[in-house]
Structures are given as C-alpha cells and as structure tokens.
C-alpha cells in the first residue's frame, strides 16, 4: 500500500514523497518500510516501540496511536512530523 513520507524523512526514500510498503498491521508495515528504506523506522519509533513525540501517523486520514492497528489493502498511510521550536 502507499505510504506518504514527510520531508524530514525523505533522505531515506531518495526524496520520494510516497513509497510502497506492506503489512497486515501498522507495525508490520513500518518494519517492511524499514526493510526497503533502512534506518527510517528508528527515527519515528523508539526502542520501546512508541511513536516518537513529534511524529503523527494517519490511516485513511484518521490519526492512529496503536502500532497494532490492522491494515487492509488500499489503506492510505500518511506519516507527518509536527514542526515546532527554533
């Protein structure tokens, strides 16, 4: 399925704004995304499998907080990064 990538993470996707990744859960999808684009997952998800503070993940335009969220073919996953600070 299609995953939309925010600009701060596009160094991992050769500057592509949308890439493909598969998984029956959000967690599996992020693992697959990391397999295709090594290193990208740890910048978003910490070692305790928590979504990092300024990362937001939306599935079909609804924010998701649980990596166990089930996904289906055709779902649209969008990763956003909140920008703040100086």
């Amino acid at each position: 399925m299609k995953v939309l990538i925010p600009t701060p993470l596009r160094s991992y996707t050769r500057q592509r704004a949308d890439v493909e990744a598969d998984g029956s859960t959000l967690d599996q999808l992020l693992v697959d995304l990391d397999r295709r684009h090594p290193g990208i997952r740890f910048r978003m998800i910490d070692e305790q499998d928590r979504i990092r503070r300024h990362i937001r993940i939306f599935v079909n335009r609804k924010q998701v907080y649980d990596l166990g969220r089930a996904l289906q073919a055709g779902d649209r996953v969008q990763i956003l990064q909140a920008l703040s600070g100086g």
Partner: protein, 392 residues
C-alpha cells in the same frame, strides 16, 4: 608526581603538509574547519547535516580517516553517522545506540540523543563507546555501524539509584559523558554522568563502582555522597594515565591513582570568578597544565561568562596557581557559554587551544597563553569542538 605512571613527553612533529582540522558540532549541523599548516587561516567545510543537532564529532585516531557524528533533529530519533573518507561521504549506522526493550513493568528507557563518542583502545581498532541522554553506555565492535547497550552499566541493579530520575538531570536532559579508556588497559574504563558522578570499571564495563570521594555535591543534604555528583567534564592524561582532572558543578578536581579521593584544585582560582565551568583541556605533553573556562554558577546558575567578561584560566602546576587568559577576548558585555565538549587542544608545539561559544564563534590561541583570535563567527550555537591533525 608520586605514584603516577608518566611516559616521557615528546613534542609532536607534524609533517609539512599536515594540518589541524577542527571538528565542530552545533545545534544546526556540523562543520570541518581546515587550518593551513601554520594555523593562521581556516577554511570551512560544511554544513554537514544542516538542521541536525550534532552533539559530537570524533575522528578515529587509529586510522585518522574515519569520523563518527552523533546527530538528531529536533523531531526525529537519535542516530550516528559514519564517514570512512573524512567527511566526503556519510552513512548512517545500521543499528544506532538504543536501550534494550523493557520487560513488562520495567521503566521504558529510550535514547533521546547520543551525547558523547569515544574511540576504543588502540588494541581494539573497531571498538567505539557512546554515551547518551538519558544516561546510557553503548559499545560498537564494528567501527560504529551497529551498537549494543553495555548491560553491566545500563542494567546494573543500582542504575536507577546512581542516575536519579529525569528531574536530576541537566536542563536539556541527564547525560553520560567523559567516557575514557585507559591507554594501558582496554578493560579499564571511566565515565561521568550529569548527574550521577564518576564511575570506574576494570572489566570492560561488566561491573562498575562509584569514584567520587572528595568531590562535592552541595545540592544534597550530605555534600559528599558516594554518588550523585555532577561532573561536567573529566579528562585523563594520555602520558600520565594515573592522573585525572575533573571540572565539576562544584569545583575543579584532580585525582591521582591509586588514590580514590579527588582533591579540589580550584580553590586557588580568584574568588570573584570561582571554579565552576563546563570544559576542561589538558596539555598533550605536560600533565601539570590544564585549561578551564569558568562560568557564572551563582544564584540561578546563568551559565554565562562571569560578569560578561569571558576568560580562560590555565594552571601550569596542577592547580597550585591559575593565570587568567583574556587577551583578545571581549572586555565587557559578552555573555556566552563554552560547553563541555567545546574546548580542545591540538598536539602541536606550542599547543593550539580552541573553544567554541554558544554564540557561534570559534576562538583560538596558537601560543598556549598568548592572544586569543576569533577565527570563525556566526555559526549556530556550538556544542562541540575537537582538534585533529590530518595529512595533506
């Protein structure tokens, strides 16, 4: 210097084409500042990783080519980048420093940023150590590509007691720093924590003991606890590896092994200046010579130049006397801070001293005690400066 193991000092003799490079980490990226052979003019290479907070950039002294760089952005997780060609190209560590996954009911620790990088012993050419915020010790055995937590420290039954909780750390997070490998023994390690104190291991990190006797922690009811102090920067002299110096939240100290009691040597500093600061720099050949850069640690701890009049201080006799070094620096209304990794020395004779400021300037002195000269200005807030000698 009774009891100290001191090798005969020898002046470095750089080849004619060798030059000093300053490895600069800032709040907004990294720069490599190349000096000419006489250290008179400087050429900036950068920014590298513009927009990333770079807390440390270190050269591998074993090959003099590999660089490791600790980075994070304000919003993405922490990582380490490696360059095998002195900054021409970079590759991210495939497994950056991270705590192990917490078991059910355990505190869930996550590395916020990698704060400190230390190359391993000369006999272990692929080994590196990293210290993090919050306090964590990590080791790489493949040149910095993959990192593993050092369980002997991070999972020590006393870890939580030694490190305190998040409220005990510095304003931008508790930190592990000053990871030191004894040049005589790869298994003999020291580290410092803000807060937590100084700790020592003699078995490559499998076990640790506090090493804080004599160092003050005046923010506790007992000002001389076994641990909990706030060392800001600790250095071991490479030619006299039984001699350690420490710039602490509560003064300047010296320790000569096998003693385990720190001696406060900052009390001879002028009372109007005090002996509080972040950085500490050792002379590469003379174990009795130390530079510090005092800051205002009064009242609410402004952590800026004392009275807005910045100055380094040097001792040539292990702290018996100190000399103010402010020639060339602003005489008034200069309110910067020099962070703990942001002051360094090269290995030349005479030694070049360098410091970077929170206001983005690099100052140098090529003659050890002579006039300071600003060699760069208007960089971002400077976190770290390391001086290295490279060929060509």
């Amino acid at each position: 210097m009774p009891g100290a193991t001191t090798k005969r000092a020898s002046a470095s003799s750089p080849k004619s084409k060798d030059h000093v490079v300053l490895l600069i980490g800032t709040k907004k990226g990294a720069w490599l500042l190349h000096g000419d052979s006489g250290r008179r003019s400087w050429r900036a290479d950068g920014p590298h990783f513009l927009g990333n907070m770079v807390h440390h950039v270190m050269l591998d002294p074993r090959d003099r080519r590999t660089l490791l760089l600790a980075a994070k952005t304000g919003h993405l997780g922490p990582t380490v980048f490696r360059s095998l060609d002195f900054g021409k190209t970079w590759k991210e560590a495939s497994k950056p420093p991270a705590f192990r996954k917490a078991a059910e009911g355990e505190k869930q620790r996550a590395v916020d940023h990698v704060f400190w990088l230390t190359p391993g012993h000369a006999s272990e050419p692929s080994v590196w150590y990293a210290g993090s915020s919050p306090q964590g010790l990590f080791r790489s055995e493949d040149g910095g590509d993959t990192w593993a937590p050092v369980a002997g420290f991070n999972d020590h039954p006393m870890y939580g007691t030694w490190t305190g909780d998040d409220q005990d750390g510095t304003p931008d997070g508790p930190k592990m720093h000053s990871i030191i490998v004894d040049p005589r023994d790869a298994a003999h390690l020291y580290l410092g924590m803000s807060g937590g104190g100084v700790f020592e291991s003699r078995d490559t990190g499998a076990s640790w003991t506090p090493l804080n006797a004599g160092s003050r922690a005046d923010f506790f009811p007992d000002p001389y606890p076994e641990f909990g102090q706030d060392p800001h920067c600790m250095r071991l002299h490479p030619l006299a590896p039984d001699v350690l110096y420490q710039q602490n939240h509560c003064g300047i100290y010296r320790l000569e092994r096998p003693s385990d009691r720190w001696e406060r040597i900052g009390e001879k500093m002028p009372k109007s200046v005090g002996d509080i600061g972040f950085p500490m720099v050792l002379h590469p050949r003379d174990p009795k010579t130390v530079w510090v850069f005092p800051m205002d640690g009064s009242s609410v701890w402004p952590r800026v130049s004392v009275e807005g009049k910045p100055a380094a201080y040097v001792t040539r006799n292990s702290g018996k006397t100190w000399k103010r070094l402010d020639d060339g620096l602003p005489k008034d209304q200069a309110w910067f801070t020099v962070f703990r990794q942001a002051m360094t020395a090269d290995a030349r004779d005479p030694v070049g001293i360098y410091f970077g400021t929170t206001t983005g300037s690099i100052w140098s002195s090529n003659e050890e005690n002579a006039r300071w000269k600003r060699i760069v200005q208007d960089l971002p807030h400077i976190y770290a400066v390391e001086a290295v000698e490279v060929a060509g």
